[in-house]
Amino acid sequence: MDQLFAALDASWRVLLVGVVLGAGLPTIYALGIRALAWGTGGEAEVHEAGVELKPHLLGRLIAYSLFAFVVLCVLLGIGYIVAHGLGMTITFDGIVPVFTSK
């Protein structure tokens, strides 16, 4: 039974982090797509016939900053794998990730 509880204990942690990163990041990326579609105008959005959608600079700016954020997170993920392989660990005591030796 201890084993089952240990597994369930690990599971909800994995689930929690998984939802935040695994579902959260695609959502942010999706927001980026949404903003980019608004920023691009034209045929990018669903619209009624005969209506010309205008491009918005702001939309594109928001989109690219959201994409940059997602890319940053992915790079951190890769950094994490590499660091893990080299026997290091990343800590997030502040906002800035710090590589420390295990």
């Binding site: 201890d2 084993q3 089952l4 509880f5 240990a6 597994a7 369930l8 204990d9 690990a10 599971s11 942690r13 994995v14 689930l15 982090v17 998984g18 939802v19 990163l21 695994g22 579902a23 990041l25 695609p26 959502t27 990326y29 999706a30 927001l31 797509i33 949404r34 980019l36 579609a37 691009t40 045929e43 990018a44 959005e45 669903v46 997602v70 890319v71 992915v74 993920g77 890769i78 994490y80 794998i81 590499v82 893990h84 392989g85 080299l86 026997g87």
Partner: protein
């Protein structure tokens, strides 16, 4: 990578090439020592990684025979399921084969069935429980991700949505390949190094010889490059008709779950997680069709992988033991090669490759009993 092929974010060739390179890189990144990999399920090593002295009595032959029979059992079971187009977990097959060979060699006591206390260990804690829980976690994460993604992008033209998510998909698929390389190459390196220690060619338990690292990295990369088209087809087309946003949600869910669990020491199979994520992405989209029949067949393959790979491993051990000596090991090796070649020959009858991997799944329904698909990776 299967989903990037199915959504045409990448061409089949480009996808396997990219994935192979990233697996290669990933394998080299995994310098963390995995030499105690067998300790999770069987008792052939001391906690520090050195083999048990009683197995080393006759120049390590006893230990080598267990490893050899275990690996042969794992490989034979793996290729058989791939021939059926089912992504069986190679980690499970490896553990299953080793458990089977150990039971044959040392009796039931040679296997660590249940771990003690609150630390996950043994066959139950390291293999069975994670196998049951990890697909469930992946399904939930991917389902939430898919729902959110579609909710956020409603109002965006479908064509624009598809092309926009392709980039995201390539990114997440790459991350997934990298983590696959780091996770799965380690286990093989551990087993090879243990064999080298048994035969007296290596002594350090904290290091893996460089050539072993290179061999494993090249093996995992070339295996990926060959493609495992049957598996790719089942994963990309068989389970769910997948779109780019779903593909991205599924892959980021897999990557997040795999990376998080390895951090927490929650051993799992990449195969199970990826399948769970793909199913979740189907559940998260309104009106998406999930082929539960295909999923059920996969589930059956998962449940049987451990015992049946174990059975093959045990049979292999008995064959090797009865014939005895180096002749016995050679026989096991030849049997394994024969099985592999037979299945390769069999797969040629109904080849699946980069040319037809994306064909409509339902077009094959007339002979659905004969499960399609060829060869496989992980």
């Amino acid at each position: 990578m299967a989903t990037s092929i199915a959504t045409k974010a990448l061409t089949p060739k480009a996808a396997v090439t990219l994935s192979a390179i990233l697996n290669l890189v990933g394998a080299f990144l995994s310098v963390e020592v995995a030499i105690t990999v067998t300790n999770a399920v069987i008792r052939i090593q001391n906690p520090d990684g050195t083999p048990k002295p009683e197995l080393m009595a006759d120049g390590g032959h006893g230990l080598l025979l267990i490893l050899m029979a275990g690996l042969a059992g794992a490989i034979i079971w793996n290729i058989l399921t791939w021939l059926w187009g089912l992504p069986s977990s190679s980690s499970h097959a490896l553990f299953g084969g080793l458990v089977g060979a150990t039971v044959a060699a040392m009796g039931w006591g040679g296997v660590k069935w249940v771990g003690e206390g609150a630390k996950l260990d043994g066959v139950i804690g390291k293999v069975v429980l994670p196998a049951l829980l990890s697909p469930a976690i992946a399904i939930i994460v991917a389902m939430i991700g898919t729902k959110l993604v579609f909710w956020v992008t409603r109002g965006v033209a479908e064509k624009y949505q598809e092309s926009g998510f392709r980039w995201g998909q390539i990114g997440t698929a790459s991350l997934l390949s990298l983590s696959h390389g780091t996770n799965d190459a380690q286990k093989t390196m551990g087993v090879i190094t243990l064999a080298l220690i048994a035969s007296g060619h290596w002594t350090a338990t904290h290091e893996v010889p460089l050539w072993v690292k290179i061999a494993c990295a090249v093996a995992i990369a070339s295996g990926t490059y060959i493609g495992g088209w049957r598996i790719i087809r089942t994963m990309g087309k068989g389970l769910v008709e997948i779109s780019s946003p779903q593909g991205m949600a599924a892959e980021s869910s897999s990557a997040a779950v795999i990376l998080t669990s390895s951090q927490l020491g929650f051993a799992l199979s990449t195969t199970h997680v990826c399948t769970g994520s793909i199913l979740g992405s189907g559940l998260g989209r309104k009106g998406a069709k999930v082929r539960w029949g295909v999923a059920g067949r996969m589930g059956l393959a998962w449940l049987t992988t451990l015992p049946l790979a174990g059975l093959v491993g045990a049979v292999m051990w008995f064959i090797g033991h009865i014939i005895g000596g180096w002749l016995g090991s050679t026989t096991i090796f030849l049997l394994m090669c024969a099985a592999a070649l037979y299945m390769r020959w069999h797969s040629k009858k109904d080849p699946i490759g980069h040319h037809n991997v994306n064909d409509e799944w339902d077009a094959e329904q007339p002979d659905a009993d004969k499960v399609p698909v060829s060869g496989g990776v992980h």
